[in-house]
Symmetry: C2
Subunit: 296 residues, 2 copies
């Protein structure tokens, strides 16, 4: 890995280059994907929305009966320390972080009560930036043939290390050169992207799938808050798949990418094919929130 | 770990005690549960049904677009060598094996085409034996509140490292002291156990869920073959959940446990509460198949 691609991993307090960082072969995160995680980023070296991310991590942990490997405050300091070490080596570099809590080692088998040493890993790497034209001109997304996990099987609210559903869906994007794949729910409503939430604009109003059967993104929450404060009409609800092809504007949100206009869905042009006025307004209010929290 | 509990791990050809075996923190098997596996066992030191297990491994690999890390023949020899090394250290010991193929290292993200070095790990450990009374008197199973993954999201035919669905379901068994939890499909039909297939007996006929929306177990296949050759009436189909409480006999099958009678489902007694005649006949024909392939 070149220096620009360096990844550091803080494994239970020990920070190593990713190439030297390992997990035990008996870790249930490896054997079963039995882990949860958060993805977050810095602006100007400051962690953006760390508290909501930690809140959600705790909810994910509770949903799979996994204990915190360290007190919340200690975990937050570990993230901050990892940012500090990374930025000493890469001054001025903004970064993305993946905070993983894994079940830890235990006998092969499904009895999680035999695993009593959860552990954390914090991956830190230079923020992967989308090309500027993605924000200026919009991206293309496709609707995947893969449906989102049903909440009765594995609730998408749990941000877990079971990610094959999303990986399989993403293949449909990659195959066709699209930036992201959208998944529908088992019953055919719009759910979310593989690593993003999706919003549509119709008649000036913003619509997004309600927070059932999807991961309730931190950026999604911020956009809903900020749009409402700005007086933009916002609605959460069930969105039939057909509506994807009948909207005036569309955008996706994620912690790493922020707000990205969508100007093509499958082979259809969205609106006039340019990022629309509501999307641009949402990008502005997101930037304003970032500036308020992390400085301009 | 005591010697009796020793686990050996063959990682791409290097055999180590499990406590010393690691995987890279950047392995996508750890990051995303992006791996597939097989569980198999020996009888008298001989691998039982290794070829059907390798066939299925190849099918799982294909379904997630993952390449074999070594030619099939080499993988089979690696399994055999692992058995040999384990049995040198534990003479006369029958063992269970877990053969994992994982995506290997790659950048954080869902583009699997950037991961081009899949790897294998073979875990070998003394066969975990169920208490003899489980076979003599039968076990209790419960129907989990957790539903099986829908095939449109993540097909249960893929024997993958995404196992949270099963782990969450197994909690319902553990909480109530049952041996196994059964999962229903999203639409309420009997699917399978967390690590087993399920069979019911009604009016002398054997019924099992058809191989859609479940893992098509190797032992399940063997039981279907052997029961048909023995002239037992066998039917694969959709089994409504209610039928679990209306059967005369029931049993589960798995590669590690073979055929295990089920004499209680939730709080209901199955039949007269003893392993029934059809179940006992199935246990015999399974033992006969083992004897034919691995010696008596």
């Amino acid at each position: 890995l070149s220096s620009a691609e360096e990844i550091l991993v803080n494994h239970n307090g020990t920070i190593l280059p990713a190439g030297e960082a390992t997990v035990p072969a008996m870790d249930h995160g490896f054997l079963y994907g039995d882990s949860v995680y958060e993805t977050l980023r810095t602006f100007h070296g400051r962690l953006f929305l760390i508290e909501p991310h930690l809140d959600r991590l705790l909810r994910s942990l509770e949903q799979i009966s996994l204990a915190l490997p360290a007190p919340r405050e200690e975990l937050r300091r570990a993230v901050e320390r990892t940012v500090g070490v990374f930025r000493e080596r890469h001054p001025g570099c903004d970064l993305s972080l993946r905070l993983v809590v894994t079940r830890g080692i235990g006998p092969i088998g499904l009895d999680i009560t035999l695993c009593d040493q959860p552990r954390y890993l914090i991956y830190a790497f230079a923020l992967p930036r989308l090309p500027a034209e993605y924000y200026a001109q919009g991206i293309r997304v496709v609707v995947s043939r893969v449906r989102r996990n049903h909440p009765s099987a594995l609730d998408p609210r749990i941000k877990s290390g079971n990610f094959l559903n999303n990986i399989l869906a993403y293949q449909d994007a990659r195959r066709t050169g699209a930036h992201e794949a959208l998944l529908l729910s088992a019953d055919g409503y719009v759910a979310e992207g593989t690593t993003s939430n999706v919003f549509l604009v119709r008649g000036g109003g913003i619509q997004t799938p309600s927070a059932f059967g999807i991961l309730d993104g931190i950026t999604r929450q911020v956009i809903l808050e900020e749009a409402r404060s700005a007086g933009l009409p916002v609605e959460e609800g069930r969105i039939p798949a057909e509506r994807l092809l009948e909207c005036d504007e569309a955008f996706i949100t994620s912690s790493v990418r922020g707000v990205v206009p969508v100007t093509r869905i499958n082979d259809s042009v969205v609106g006039d094919g340019e990022p629309g006025p509501v999307t641009q307004r949402v990008m502005q209010i997101y930037d304003a929130r970032v500036a308020r929290e992390c400085g301009a």
